[in-house]
């Protein structure tokens, strides 16, 4: 059993360079997305309207940013269960800076981002330095940020009614496209750059493929791990600011459950939970598959209980497709 694991990991290392040229998975998921889109368009005249497409983009934006952040962590063979509640914590901190302390909006944004990054930094430190399993460390962080958000906000939503400009961050539009969507795309492009063109990105794959080999080849594994979790936290912080702006309020009770949607989006997009594999483009497509599906089923007036069943089935099928693909290589 152990041998097998080592072997597959080695294989993964060998194939890592091939990974980016291997666009089969991406093609598959992307064509599923297109097919869904066509089917829904044919089924309902209300689906492929400008307003509805903007609605889909908007509902993907926050989840998409979370999914992009968690992709980094999953590629290192780690997991971050705290992304949803860290997002909430960041939005509450943004609320504290702007609505409680009346600081300029830019400080609120930076404060939210910093709060997210700080949580990520703590996650990374717990995992790298104190050797906690990622599942446990981030589960603890999930609960702590969930509780802190309620404590800090006094369990009440914090509204940004005095600062109408704040809402523009997500809901201002460029040619009819909400800013939140543009921020999501920009974040994805930057994330893709980091993952494919920088040392941080290379080490992200290296850690996930074989951490011991990475350590032996002189990489400061602990430091890079902390950096990667911090980056993941930063994306959660960004999602928090976007969410607060979209709802014009920081909702302290929100957030739990989002981590699973983010992880699902990454996995549908071909990110392997055993580490070493995954792309930002894949995750973005994965996030869109989820939101197009939810939106399309709603447009078609499918009963809500069945919507959930169908989405669950799609997640299973997507991961199965990924397993088959691996076996074929």
């Amino acid at each position: 059993m152990n041998n097998k694991v080592v072997k597959t990991k080695n294989e993964v290392i060998q194939k890592r360079s091939l990974l980016r040229s291997d666009s089969k998975q991406k093609l598959l998921t992307f064509s599923s997305l297109i097919v869904m889109f066509i089917v829904f368009s044919l089924a309902s005249p209300n689906f492929a309207t400008f307003n509805n497409i903007v609605g889909i983009l908007l509902s993907t934006a926050v989840n998409g940013v979370l999914a992009v952040g968690v992709t980094f962590v999953i590629i290192t063979a780690g997991i971050d269960l705290s992304v949803g509640t860290v997002m909430t914590f960041a939005s509450v901190m943004t609320g504290v800076f702007i609505a409680f302390w009346n600081l300029p909006i830019i400080f609120g944004i930076l404060g939210g981002l910093a709060a997210g990054a700080l949580c990520g930094f703590i996650n990374g430190s717990l995992i790298a330095k104190m050797k906690l399993p990622p599942f446990i460390a981030t589960l603890g962080m999930l609960m702590m940020t969930k509780g802190l958000s309620l404590v800090i906000s006094g369990t009440k939503p914090i509204y940004f009614l005095e600062t109408p400009v704040f809402r523009k961050i997500s809901m201002g539009t460029v040619f009819g496209i909400p800013n939140a969507v543009l921020i999501f795309f920009a974040a994805a492009i930057i994330a893709n750059f980091i993952l494919t063109k920088t040392v941080l990105g290379r080490y992200t794959y290296a850690l996930g493929s074989n951490e011991e080999a990475a350590r032996l080849s002189g990489i400061n594994v602990d430091a890079w791990k902390i950096a990667i979790y911090t980056l993941g936290g930063l994306f959660s912080g960004l999602a928090g600011v976007m969410m607060a702006s979209r709802l014009n309020s920081a909702q302290p009770a929100l957030g739990q459950g989002y981590e699973l949607e983010a992880i699902a989006a990454a996995v549908i997009g071909g990110t392997s939970l055993s580490g070493g594999e995954g792309t930002i483009l894949g995750t973005v497509i994965g996030a869109f598959i989820m939101s197009v599906l939810i939106n399309g089923l709603r447009i078609l007036s499918i009963p809500q209980e069945w919507q959930t069943v169908i989405i669950g089935a799609i997640v299973i099928m997507a991961v199965y497709a990924d397993i088959i693909r691996r076996r074929q290589r």
Partner: protein
């Protein structure tokens, strides 16, 4: 891999086919967006909405987020509903302020909005179909006073201190006691999030902290079940007068067995029915009152199976 792909596509196609059958042609379409979905209370609201849809020959969909904290999910549902160009919209806002831009969009498109349950905190809705929770909780206070002999210690568990229903029920009960029954003392008010287990623990602690407690009011289903569990676990059955709110199997059993003195029930079926009915009237340009009171009832072991009460209760 091809097989999986084919399976994926065919699934989507099948789903589409099925839904094609359900798509109405010329009927009026009214989406109903509630604050919850799987909770029995919302299922009863749904039942009423479907009944009205049948009576008035309109098409409805009924949706709500999985938990009452998912404000953004509800906003997405609202947005999708508007994309379908509905003829009217029934909406129970989780956070009215967050929903205002979309409601303004509805207004701009001349889509009448009908609030229901906790409604929408804005002047956009043409009317709101809801229970008068303050009056209902005050009535529970009157019953409590009567049952404990107009004096003694009473405690309250409420689902939360932020939602409209939580605030109204707490204040309705507490203010009535303070105004009319000076010999009754409210010793504690706690918030259990409507969670059965959490409310149970809270209720147990309160009972242990106040050995002379004579009455306990649980302000929604989860809170009331918590009180029932606490009283049972501490062997205090018969020693504490328990009054609940809404229904659900556990509460109904407790009333039948005599553990619980009685409860207030809203009319969830009526809320759903009246909301859709009001939407139809709004589409037809009829004049509507600002608030449609859907009523409440007190029920106990004697009236639980009566023809008036029985249809309002859910298990």
């Amino acid at each position: 891999m091809k097989k999986v792909f084919v399976a994926l596509v065919s699934l989507v196609l099948i789903v589409t086919l099925f839904s094609g059958l359900g798509l109405a042609k010329e009927k009026l379409y009214i989406p109903v967006i509630s604050k919850g979905f799987q909770h029995q209370f919302w299922q009863a609201v749904k039942l009423g909405a479907e009944q009205a849809a049948k009576d008035y020959n309109v098409e409805i969909t009924f949706e709500g987020p999985e938990s009452e904290s998912q404000v953004d999910k509800q906003i997405n549902m609202l947005q999708t509903a508007l994309s379908k160009n509905p003829d009217a919209l029934c909406f129970a806002a989780l956070d009215s302020k967050a929903a205002i831009p979309l409601l303004e969009e509805a207004k701009a498109k001349n889509i009448p909005v009908v609030g229901f349950d906790s409604g929408v905190d804005s002047d956009i809705p043409v009317t709101t179909a809801a229970t008068d929770n303050v009056a209902a909780a005050a009535y529970a206070a009157d019953k409590m006073a009567e049952l404990i002999g107009y004096e003694g210690e009473v405690a309250v568990i409420v689902h939360d201190q932020t939602s409209r229903t939580g605030i109204d029920r707490r204040d309705g009960f507490v203010n009535r006691i303070k105004e009319k029954y000076p010999k009754i003392k409210i010793v504690d008010i706690q918030y259990g999030g409507g969670d059965h287990l959490k409310s149970t623990d809270l209720a147990k602690t309160i009972i242990q902290a106040h050995p002379n407690l004579k009455g306990f009011f649980g302000a929604n289903e989860g809170s009331a079940v918590g009180v029932i569990n606490a009283v049972t676990e501490l062997n205090m059955i018969g020693k504490i007068v328990v009054i609940g709110y809404d229904s659900g199997k556990l509460q109904l059993n407790a009333i039948r067995s005599g553990l619980m003195a009685g409860a207030i029930t809203q009319n969830p079926v009526g809320i759903g029915y009246k909301a859709v009915e009001a939407a139809v009237k709004a589409i037809n340009g009829e004049e509507l009152p600002e608030v449609i009171d859907t009523g409440f009832y007190w029920y106990d072991i004697n009236s639980i199976d009566s023809s008036v009460i029985k249809p309002l209760l859910y298990e």
